[in-house]
């Protein structure tokens, strides 16, 4: 059955898209509610995300300051020291290795111990050995990197704070898990709220769906305007939310900058994450909008709608 001629005029994509926009206008209150709900969810997620990015970056900065000192034997030749530096830099996890000659190290130490420096007055500046000050990329590989460094020749001593490093790593890992959990939780809550909003919207539109079905509209013809509507509302919500998150972040950064003298906190620049967030927000908006529409519409497409209102049988 249903030969080609019966299927007749092809569905006009322009009409369907226009219909999607018309739906938004004619159901402006529900559209506004959907955008509002989606926006609040996205803003919460955005703020949580930026908060965690900043905490992580701060911990990263702190861990970068946890340098490893490699003290060099006094009788090592210049060539050996240069070769050592090359070998250190060849280690995979080493971000930076700075040679600190004994002449520079002594005044630095003196300065760091403050008034106690008076006790060491008159001492030779070559009291300390030459050293390499090493910064690592990834604190999780701290132990492995230390082992590599221990294998080097001409090393008197390796000074490192393994415990602090591992504590920081733990904090960052835990922080990462917490942030993922919180964002997931917010996402789940958002989906519940959004799906309820979509359900209410669909309930309001069940008459249209029933009429479409009864005159022989195909399922995709019925779905398409709703999907267009979902996507458009999703994109709008995504863009506005991003703007709002930016404003919140702008003021929050200012506030943090005021106290940064105390804590040495430097907020992560918003532009570093603007593209990621834009993509994530628009994608979340589009996916929740489109899927929300499809899923909650299926109920009405499947429903035996004919007798739902006024027929007792």
């Amino acid at each position: 059955m249903s030969n080609k001629s019966e299927r007749g005029g092809s569905a006009s994509l322009t009409y369907l898209t226009k219909e999607g926009f018309r739906n938004i206008r004619s159901n402006s209150l529900m559209s506004l509610a959907s955008v509002g709900v989606l926006m609040s969810c996205l803003i919460m997620i955005g703020v949580a995300f930026l908060l965690f990015v900043n905490i992580d970056s701060m911990l990263g900065d702190i861990s970068q300051e946890n340098v490893i000192m490699v003290f060099i034997e006094d009788d090592a030749t210049d060539d050996e020291i240069v070769e050592m530096g090359r070998k250190i830099r060849d280690i995979e996890n080493v971000q930076e290795a700075v040679f600190v000659p004994k002449e520079e190290a002594f005044p630095e130490v003196m300065e760091s111990i403050g008034s106690a420096a008076a006790l060491f007055e008159g001492m030779e500046s070559d009291l300390l050995p030459d050293a390499y000050e090493i910064t690592l990329n990834d604190m999780e590989k701290y132990d492995a990197s230390v082992k590599e460094l221990e294998k080097l020749d001409n090393v008197i001593q390796l000074r490192h704070n393994r415990e602090f490093a591992s504590q920081l790593t733990n904090i960052r890992t835990t922080g990462g898990y917490i942030s993922i959990a919180v964002i997931l939780m917010l996402l789940v809550v958002s989906l519940f709220i959004i799906s309820n909003t979509v359900k209410v919207t669909m309930y309001n539109r069940r008459l249209e769906i029933k009429i479409m079905k009864s005159v022989g509209a195909t399922k995709w013809f019925i779905r398409w305007p709703f999907i267009v509507e979902g996507i458009v509302l999703g994109v709008i919500s995504g863009l506005i939310s991003l703007g709002i998150v930016f404003v919140i972040y702008f003021f929050a950064s200012d506030a943090v900058a005021d106290i940064s003298g105390v804590f040495a906190v430097k907020p992560v620049p918003f532009k570093d994450y603007v593209l990621v967030m834009l993509a994530a927000f628009v994608a979340t908006g589009v996916i929740t909008g489109a899927f929300g529409s499809i899923v909650s519409m299926n109920k009405y497409l499947k429903e035996q709608d004919y007798d739902s209102d006024n027929v007792s049988e």
């Binding site: 059955m1 092809s10 479409m212 013809f221 004919y306 007798d307 049988e313």
Partner: protein
């Protein structure tokens, strides 16, 4: 042609809505289906619309077996049907024109075809002047005429009307059935479910009575019988003749029944017509 052979329908809750129904309706017939609430009328219509599938027996409409019809073919099958509901089911925020055009748009009709066809159909149901009105600006009778226009706008072969007069007063009921008569006169099959014995008696047509899921009678009412071919040739004359009788009768009736007919339950949305 519509053919039910030994059709039974049971629902999952154990209710047997139809029980061994045999029925044949030819193209161009006008059939009333009557019966009490719960008798099985709506299940019969749902099976015709392929909203439900018969549990037993076979249903063939326009040479298509509804039992074996694939889901993706159902929308295309429904384009042969024009459905009229008791509660009109008009979209409140669309004008009369758009409500009718909607039925064409959602099956992908071209806008040019729509602009030609919709005014013509609205003229047929006497609502050309009200094209720009919203449904809530119309009386119940007018709203049902919009629903009728929507049902015929896609040139349906079969009109299925489920209690189309249930929400309008007696006078408007006659107008609606009269319109269905005219639609039928052009060769469209009309199947109308009703509770109103008065309507059934007035319009001498085939009456199928359902009780407890079974067809208990299938008669032609005693006023007149119009074979399809005759109604096409002499349809207008016949309708005019019947209209004269009806008008005389209505004059007498309206004397004492206006108050009775105007109770809110019977009016069901009647607003500005009288």
């Amino acid at each position: 042609m519509i053919e039910f052979k030994n059709v039974s329908k049971s629902y999952s809750n154990g209710t047997k809505a139809l029980d061994g129904v045999n029925l044949r309706i030819e193209q161009g017939e006008f059939v009333f289906i009557v019966g009490d609430s719960g008798a099985g009328k709506s299940t019969l219509l749902k099976i015709m619309m392929r909203e439900e599938v018969a549990s037993e027996g076979s249903v063939v409409i326009k040479n298509r077996s509804l039992n074996t019809m694939k889901k993706r073919d159902i929308p295309y099958f429904r384009r042969h049907l024009g459905i009229v509901f008791q509660d009109f089911r008009l979209i409140p925020n669309m004008t009369v024109y758009d409500n009718v055009a909607f039925a064409m748009r959602v099956i992908g009709a071209k806008e040019k075809k729509i602009t030609n066809r919709v005014p013509h159909v609205l003229g047929r149901v006497g609502l050309a002047e009200k094209a720009k009105c919203l449904p809530n600006e119309l009386s119940g009778g007018e709203q049902q005429r919009v629903a009728l226009a929507r049902a015929i706008v896609n040139n349906a072969d079969i009109i299925i009307a489920d209690e189309p007069t249930g929400n309008v007063d007696t006078k408007r009921s006659f107008e609606i059935v009269e319109m269905l008569n005219q639609i039928n006169a052009s060769g469209t099959t009309v199947i109308m479910v009703t509770h109103s014995e008065e309507l059934v008696r007035r319009f001498g047509r085939r009456i199928i009575t359902i009780k407890d899921g079974k067809i208990v009678s299938d008669d032609i009412s005693n006023i007149s019988v119009e074979p399809v071919a005759d109604s096409q040739v002499f349809g207008d004359l016949d309708i005019a003749g019947k209209r004269a009788i009806r008008e005389a009768d209505e004059f007498i009736r309206s004397y004492n029944s206006t108050i009775e007919d105007s109770t809110p339950e019977q009016q069901g949305g009647e607003t500005d017509e009288q």
